[in-house]
């Protein structure tokens, strides 16, 4: 059933043991995101060296989907260059919102790695905002914009 594919082990693990929570010393990009309707909050601190996201720190609270998504994202982008991150962001959006089935069920993880754990969210339209919030916040951080992100 749908709920099992939404609340996968991986999600609950990232919800309860979120990665990359340690504060960073050298922050050169920052953004806050929030979803006023359900109260999810995400803060991102990034250390960018050249075009590499060398380090990331995630703060925030909210539902398992938003917090797990932030944690998964932080793992996925850490050490990657901006081009690769843009590609991942694009694929992630497609996975969340398009009818195109980009994830291959026979080769789990082949396209988006652990991020594929969030594929089940698509069946719960109300929750897509939760999963997308960290990425929307990342967009703002990378754009160097000062306005908080929102998925509302």
């Amino acid at each position: 059933m749908g709920l099992d594919s939404l609340y996968k082990e991986v999600i609950l693990d990232h919800y309860r043991n979120p990665r990359n929570r340690a504060e960073l010393a050298d922050v050169n990009r920052h953004a806050d995101g929030n979803n006023p309707l359900c109260g999810d909050k995400i803060s991102l601190d990034l250390t960018i060296n050249g075009d590499i996201v060398a380090a990331i720190s995630v703060q925030g609270h909210g539902c398992s989907i938003s917090q797990a998504s932030a944690s998964l994202m932080s793992e996925a982008i850490k050490g990657k260059d901006l081009q690769e991150i843009a590609r991942l962001r694009q694929l992630f959006s497609t996975m969340m919102t398009s009818d195109e089935a980009i994830v291959d069920p026979d080769r789990p993880g082949a396209v988006l790695g652990e991020l594929e754990a969030l594929a089940g969210v698509k069946a719960f339209p109300v929750r897509i905002k939760c999963a997308s919030l960290p990425w929307a916040t990342l967009d703002v951080a990378l754009a160097g914009d000062a306005e908080p992100a929102t998925t509302d």
């Binding site: 609340y7 609950l12 309707l37 359900c38 109260g39 909210g62 398992s64 719960f124 929750r127 939760c130």
Partner: protein, 399 residues
């Protein structure tokens, strides 16, 4: 109460709808009254000398009279139709508050107010907002209230029933405190009026605000009731048609209450719907409604107590508790809970319930909330509990 079949959306759908505090469903009688008006009686009111318009006006004014009777108003003229509770409270904040108070005056609210009874007061500049606290049992702490009130207190504006905790406040005691300093008492009745018998002659309020859509009526309309002397004194909030007496290019004078406060074309069909909702509730009897809510609350609290890791936020004293139950389950975020319950046909609210300061006060970001209306049943409570057990399993916290 065995009225589920009166509600088309529930009769044709077996969901457990436990979000009536956000907005209630509507009985056939309300839907039909509006439908009939639109199909055979519709015209603008107060304006036409032709019969259709005169009859529409009579129907609109009859709805006002029904509401007046329902809350025990001295006269239908004390009943002002607004867009909802929010607009009614904004009118009061701007026109009973802002316009009439002096810098340094203060207004006393409580920490459990809905944003509708908080943000409009924050708009006012130069006035001090003060907040009464809660007791350990989530009642309004009257000692705290007394401590906040002083001779500069001009208004005490408090919810009649919390939309988060279910707490019912002692308006008569608040009145007594207000009288010691000559303050006005405003009651946010959005949750009170749909659930308890209310008689403004004994309630203790000077003003009362409520919304039709939470009491089986339509969206787009609510009520501001006030004592006539005060309404007479208060300036209009909006200008336009129907609220005027004489109009010149540069100056105008106002029509008598209630028209002074009803600028423009009012929610005509919505008033008819509200009238029908009031008739429906009157037929059920508000004492019976209160009894039904209490019985269901007792049952729900018992059942929730059987689920490990459930925490309920709200009074244990049932005399000051309405049928609205906020809770959390272990470390499961309420938003996740709501999704899981929804998949099992149970609709509850999750979030801050437009009461962020209360959430801060409770030290939690959000709760899940199950809330009842006349059509709610123990069956639905059972389904809620089953859903919670499933959620606990999914999140690996069952026992």
């Amino acid at each position: 109460m065995d009225v589920r079949r009166d509600f088309p959306i529930l009769a044709s759908n077996d969901m457990a709808f436990l979000d009536s505090a956000a907005s209630s469903q509507k009985p056939e009688a309300v839907i039909a009254a509006m439908d009939t008006m639109l199909r055979s009686g519709y015209a603008n009111v107060h304006r036409g000398a032709y019969r259709l318009s005169a009859e529409a006006t009579d129907a609109y004014e009859a709805a006002r009279a029904k509401v007046a009777t329902f809350i025990g108003a001295a006269s239908p003229r004390e009943v002002i139709f607004t867009r909802g509770t929010t607009t009614a409270l904004n009118m009061l904040a701007a026109k009973w508050g802002g316009d009439r108070l002096d810098p340094g005056d203060n207004i006393v609210l409580s920490v459990m107010e809905h944003h509708a009874n908080l943000v409009p007061w924050q708009f006012l500049k130069g006035l001090e907002l003060r907040f009464a606290n809660l007791t350990d049992d989530y009642a309004l702490d009257m000692n705290s209230l007394r401590n906040q009130v002083d001779e500069r207190t001009r208004i005490i504006s408090i919810t009649g029933m919390s939309n988060v905790l279910g707490t019912i406040t002692p308006i008569d005691q608040i009145r007594a405190v207000a009288d010691t300093v000559g303050a006005t008492v405003i009651v946010d009745g959005a949750q009170l009026v749909p659930h308890l018998p209310v008689d403004v002659q004994t309630l203790g309020a000077d003003f009362l605000a409520f919304s039709a859509h939470k009491m089986l009526g339509p969206t787009g309309i609510g009520v501001l009731w006030g004592r006539m002397e005060l309404l007479d004194e208060m300036e209009p909030f909006e200008g336009g048609g129907e609220m005027i007496d004489e109009v010149g290019l540069f100056e105008s004078t106002w029509a008598p209450v209630p028209h002074k406060f009803e600028a423009g074309t009012p929610p005509i069909v919505e008033a008819i719907g509200l009238g029908a909702a009031v008739d429906y509730l009157t037929d059920l009897g508000m004492d019976a409604v209160r009894k039904h809510d209490t019985e269901l609350t007792v049952y729900a609290l018992e059942q929730l107590a059987t689920v490990p890791h459930v925490t309920v936020y709200g009074p244990t004293d049932l005399n000051i508790r309405g049928g609205t139950i906020s809770f959390t389950l272990g470390d499961i975020h309420p938003h996740d809970l709501s999704t899981i319950l929804d998949e099992n046909g149970v609709a509850v609210r999750a979030g801050h319930h437009c009461a962020r300061p209360l959430m801060d006060h409770l030290g939690i970001p959000a709760t899940a909330r199950a809330s009842f209306s006349v059509y709610s049943s123990s069956d639905e409570v059972d389904r809620l509990v089953a859903g919670l057990e499933l959620a606990a399993k999914l999140f690996g916290i069952a026992n």
